[in-house]
């Protein structure tokens, strides 16, 4: 039997823009932005900036470390959702370029992607319909 997955209906709410300062973690920074603006669910609408070093999860659950500074983030996508214990969790994937311009992609590892100069991120609040 095939599965059709799940569908969550809802609508878009507010839009937040933030500058995340140096040495703050990209993933935790996005979560803290949601705390600051009272978002419980959000989608990343855009993001660009630089990291001291980048750390991306590999397909076999190891860690790809791209050394900077600075590693440029050229694309980021993802969402923030509450977890069963009431915390917020951001899941972000993206593409980075190293100091030679070579590109690398994957999920950003929470806690291991410190911002170098600045990170600009735009989040759009997601307001799911009541279940």
């Amino acid at each position: 039997m095939s599965s059709l997955g799940s569908v969550e209906s809802g609508r878009m709410g507010r839009v937040a823009y933030a500058r995340i300062a140096p040495n703050e973690d990209l993933v935790l920074g996005v979560e803290k932005l949601c705390l600051a603006q009272g978002f419980r669910h959000a989608f990343v609408r855009g993001g660009l900036g630089s990291l001291v070093d980048a750390c991306l999860m590999t397909a076999d659950d190891r860690f790809l470390q791209v050394s900077g500074p600075a590693v440029e983030v050229v694309s980021v996508a993802g969402e923030v959702r509450p977890t069963a214990d009431g915390c917020l969790r951001a899941a972000l994937t993206g593409v980075v370029s190293d100091t030679d311009g070579r590109v690398h992609g994957g999920p950003f590892v929470p806690g291991s992607n410190p911002v170098c100069i600045t990170f600009e991120v735009t989040l759009e609040e997601w307001l799911p319909d009541a279940a």
């Binding site: 920074g29 932005l33 440029e72 311009g101």
Partner: protein, 185 residues
């Protein structure tokens, strides 16, 4: 530059910048709602003008954008290695010529510079004339839209201003958000 695959999560480095770290680490502003515009950029214009001018005519001064794939008759980009002067932790390299290039995708923000002029900050992934995939800070003034144009989705944050502001910590100019009302305080 090095890339390593390691079995354990690496300890993040805490980089020392020339200035003291500011108190506010995440500065944010929120817009009650957003408006969206689809732009199809005019061939022959540079990326900066091709985005800024139509948005300016719409009265837009603050937007974040997704730049969809498209061809450029010429493109240049920068990377950000350590500042050779040691004055800052990192600095943009000289522009790297990508030649005739395909922008695979990009992200951009538009705000105002210290003179109040609209300006663009764009990062992207591209395929250069040699067929290599590269990425970095796109030099918007130096990248010319090719025939066929380039499509951009702009999300406008009404009531928010993005202003280039000198950052004491990094000694680099960065976009900071401000509520528009603060312009009149």
């Amino acid at each position: 530059m090095t890339t390593l695959i390691v079995p354990r999560m690496p300890r993040p480095r805490c980089l020392v910048h020339p200035g003291l770290a500011g108190v506010v680490r995440i500065r944010s502003c929120v817009a009650a709602a957003s408006r969206h515009f689809r732009l199809h950029l005019e061939p022959g214009r540079n990326l900066q003008d091709a985005i800024v001018q139509p948005l300016s005519e719409l009265g837009v001064t603050c937007a974040c954008m997704t730049v969809l794939g498209g061809a450029f008759s010429s493109m240049s980009f920068c990377v950000a290695p350590p500042d050779p002067t040691g004055e800052r932790a990192a600095a943009y390299s000289s522009p790297i010529d990508a030649g005739r290039a395909l922008l695979i995708f990009g992200n951009a923000t538009m705000g105002t510079d210290t003179h109040g002029r609209l300006m663009l900050h764009c990062h992207g992934v591209l395929r250069n004339q040699a067929g290599q995939t590269r990425g970095g800070h796109i030099v918007a003034h130096g990248s010319i839209v090719a025939s066929g144009g380039v499509t951009v989705l702009a999300t406008v944050l009404d009531g928010v201003e993005l202003r280039i502001t000198p950052d004491d910590e990094t000694r680099m100019p960065v976009f900071l958000p401000f509520l528009s009302e603060s312009l009149h305080v």
